[in-house]
């Protein structure tokens, strides 16, 4: 076990994947010489060469479009999009090509491409550097979409994503890049004990309210659970990990137990992941629900200027307010 930051854990995971498979390539803006603006790829160009860690032109459509071509040639490209708000120039390639080519070819073509996207707010950045676009991708059949919440998962999940034969949009919680956790670099990822890429995980057991989150909000929800415990409210916190496909079973069985649901994400509320979770739970746990399912989310506004972001982002206080509301239904 080594204690490392989430950023370093990704770095270690990428390194392991590159060592394991010579067809794994990294591509993106400023990832080679600079090591990425978040240093996630630091040192990899030095060790694997600029042929495998490729500094690209400033062209996101080009990054994803050529990655598709490289995948068709048998490579396994891992693309970095520098910030959430810069993925849109590549949106056409992602939605019409990356997501659909396997289907178009009736399974004859596989595109094992990973697109890493640092996402979310909380770092005091300027416009377009704090967005949470995951719903766009989760609504796109053909893509798999995941997010890691801590260093330990980051290390494992990035390798699993690279090993996947499907395209994976890999959301990295940028404000957690510097958070540390224990990472086991000796584990065999094929071991049955390792949580699969598309499985949700109960990160805290509780009997009163099911709290569902992913990425950066998992930590916030755990903090809320700690706080709630002081008032004798036992929150069960679920880290979705996979946003597409969604692993619903753990959520449903938790709600069957607690009868109460609060979903938390930074992205705008309307037509976000929270809507899907609440709709699905209402459909499948109708007779178990003891209170209306609630969402604690970003507002239906563009991401605000940095000096306002603390109000925009769900925090412990807002989560607990919703917990209190669902608890008030008896």
């Amino acid at each position: 076990m080594t204690v490392m930051t989430l950023s370093k854990a990704l770095n270690a995971g990428l390194r392991a994947a590159m060592e394991a498979d010579a067809r794994v390539l990294l591509m993106g803006e400023d990832i080679a010489t600079l090591g990425g603006v978040f240093r996630v790829t630091d040192g990899l160009a030095k060790d694997f060469g600029e042929g495998r860690v490729i500094d690209t032109p400033l062209s996101e459509a080009g990054i994803v479009g050529t990655a598709i071509g490289l995948a068709l040639r048998g490579y396994r490209p891992v693309c970095e999009i520098q910030f959430d708000g810069f993925v849109y120039p590549a949106y056409d390639q992602i939605v019409t090509q990356l997501a659909k080519m396997h289907y178009r070819s009736a399974g004859r073509v596989q595109l094992p491409v990973v697109i890493r996207i640092p996402f979310g707010g909380g770092i005091g950045a300027v416009e377009h550097h704090s967005e949470s676009p995951e719903a766009y991708f989760a609504h796109t059949p053909g893509l798999k979409v995941v997010s890691c919440a801590d260093a330990s998962d980051a290390y494992v999940m990035i390798q699993q994503a690279i090993a996947s034969d499907d395209p994976v949009i890999f959301f990295e919680p940028k404000r957690r890049y510097w958070d540390k956790a224990e990472v086991d670099q000796t584990q065999d990822l094929l071991d049955a004990a390792v949580t699969p890429l598309h499985a949700a995980r109960i990160v805290r057991v509780g009997r009163d309210v099911t709290v569902v989150a992913y990425g950066p909000m998992v930590k916030t929800c755990l903090a809320a659970a700690l706080s709630a415990a002081d008032c004798n409210q036992e929150l069960e916190v679920i880290d979705l990990r996979s946003l597409s496909p969604l692993d619903f079973e753990p959520v449903l069985s938790s709600v069957r137990k607690t009868g109460r649901l609060v979903v938390v994400h930074e992205a705008p509320r309307t037509v976000g992941l929270g809507a899907e979770i609440c709709a699905r739970v209402s459909e499948e746990c109708f007779y178990h629900l003891e209170a209306p399912p609630l969402r604690v989310t970003g507002f239906d506004t563009p991401y605000p200027p940095a000096r306002l972001e603390e109000h925009y982002l769900p925090d412990v206080e807002r989560i607990l307010t919703s917990v209190d509301i669902v608890m008030s239904h008896r």
Binding site: A61, L70, R73, P89, Q97, R108
Partner: protein, 378 residues
């Protein structure tokens, strides 16, 4: 615009050979005839597909009429190890690559999305969203370089096809940037058929399209797209450059779309028939045939044989088309992912149960649309 100075032409519209100081072909008589046969066959198959559409057997057809020389000339210049990335009109290139001619018709009939295996013939899937495939070709070509398959005469090259309209898409321009920057072994083959649906190519660029290339650091060349020999020679040279590791080339094949954009289009709304007639005089097949006749490379018997061979193939294509079964409803869910998705599996099961609820007493499943359930479609 055909820019006279640098325009490569080996055969005049009347089928006379013109010496060119850079380009030539070096065919055996048999090769000359093979090329002719290709031209005739791809036109005949195309006509059959158009007819099938008119008869309601296809949802749509995008005809290559008039572009046979551009497609056969370039397509025949490819080596087996080369890989082509087409748009949706490259039925002639598909033929040259050896794709079963029924494959594109499956797409336009709507039984699949064009689901051949690109690896079988080194001919990638049709791509409908304009310009996208040029980046795929470029990335693929970067991979060819990585694999060390450039730098010699038997290296591999990549070619990508697109229209005049595609030159206005960001993707195409980014592909030029990447190809140039990474010296990728890829040939950009633009069929300037002078229209993007109704838009004349001058709507995309006031100056000839081949001039676009130089500003990205790659050579651009304009060729008579109705001259099969020129298209062959120019493409062959560009592929050779790519193979040798000398980087990408942009070819503008100046041609003409003699049919409407697709069978859904009414070209009379935006161009006069006199224009079409003018271009009929520059017909790529007539001119090549005139040349073969003049040079006595083929006789009447050959021409007759070729026509009947094309006719046989057309009849076969028709029969194949009429025999195409509709895919079973549950095929909707197949191959969305390479690895299973529990979420989707659940939807698929529910749908199967829903279909089963219509099953009749004989135990046979049938739906409102009366199509049977069965195995996977493809």
């Amino acid at each position: 615009m055909a820019d006279s100075e640098s325009f490569v032409q080996l055969l005049t519209p009347s089928g006379h050979y013109r010496q060119h100081n850079e380009y030539a072909v070096d065919f055996t008589p048999q090769q000359y005839r093979d090329i002719y046969r290709d031209l005739v066959i791809v036109r005949r198959l195309d006509a059959e597909a158009t007819a099938l559409q008119r008869q309601g057997e296809l949802g749509l057809w995008a005809s290559l009429l008039g572009q046979e020389a551009a497609q056969v000339g370039s397509g025949r210049a490819l080596q087996p190890q080369d890989v082509a990335f087409p748009s949706y009109r490259e039925h002639g290139v598909a033929w040259c690559r050896g794709l079963d001619p029924i494959a594109p018709l499956r797409l336009f009939r709507g039984v699949d999305h064009g689901a051949w295996d690109p690896a079988d013939t080194n001919f990638h899937l049709y791509t409908i969203v304009i310009g996208s495939q040029t980046l795929h070709a470029t990335g693929y070509a970067m991979g060819v370089t990585k694999d060390g398959q450039v730098g010699s005469e038997d290296g591999a090259a990549v070619i990508t096809y697109f229209g005049d309209g595609a030159t206005s898409q960001g993707d195409l321009n980014e592909a030029l940037i990447w190809a140039s920057g990474f010296a990728a072994p890829v040939v950009f083959f633009c069929q300037n058929n002078q229209y993007a649906i109704s838009a004349p190519s001058t709507r995309q660029s006031r100056i000839p399209l081949y001039l676009r290339a130089a500003g990205f650091g790659l050579p651009g060349i304009q060729v008579d797209g109705n001259d099969v020999l020129a298209c062959y020679s120019v493409t062959q040279a560009a592929l050779r450059r790519a193979r040798l590791g000398e980087g990408p080339t942009f070819i503008e094949a100046y041609t003409y779309r003699m049919a409407a954009h697709t069978t859904s289009d009414d070209a009379s709304r935006y161009r006069p028939s006199s224009e079409v007639e003018l271009w009929q005089q520059r017909d790529p097949i007539a001119r090549y045939r005139a040349y073969l006749e003049r040079e006595q490379l083929a006789d009447a018997e050959f021409f007759a044989d070729t026509d009947s061979q094309a006719q046989q193939l057309a009849l076969k294509l028709r029969a194949q088309t009429l025999a195409l079964p509709d895919p079973p409803p549950r095929a909707i869910f197949d191959q969305v992912y390479a690895e299973p998705s529990a979420q989707l599996a659940e939807q698929q099961e529910k749908f199967a149960a829903y279909l089963d609820s219509f099953a009749d007493n004989d135990g046979e499943a049938a739906t409102a649309g009366s199509q049977g359930l069965g195995g996977s479609t493809s």
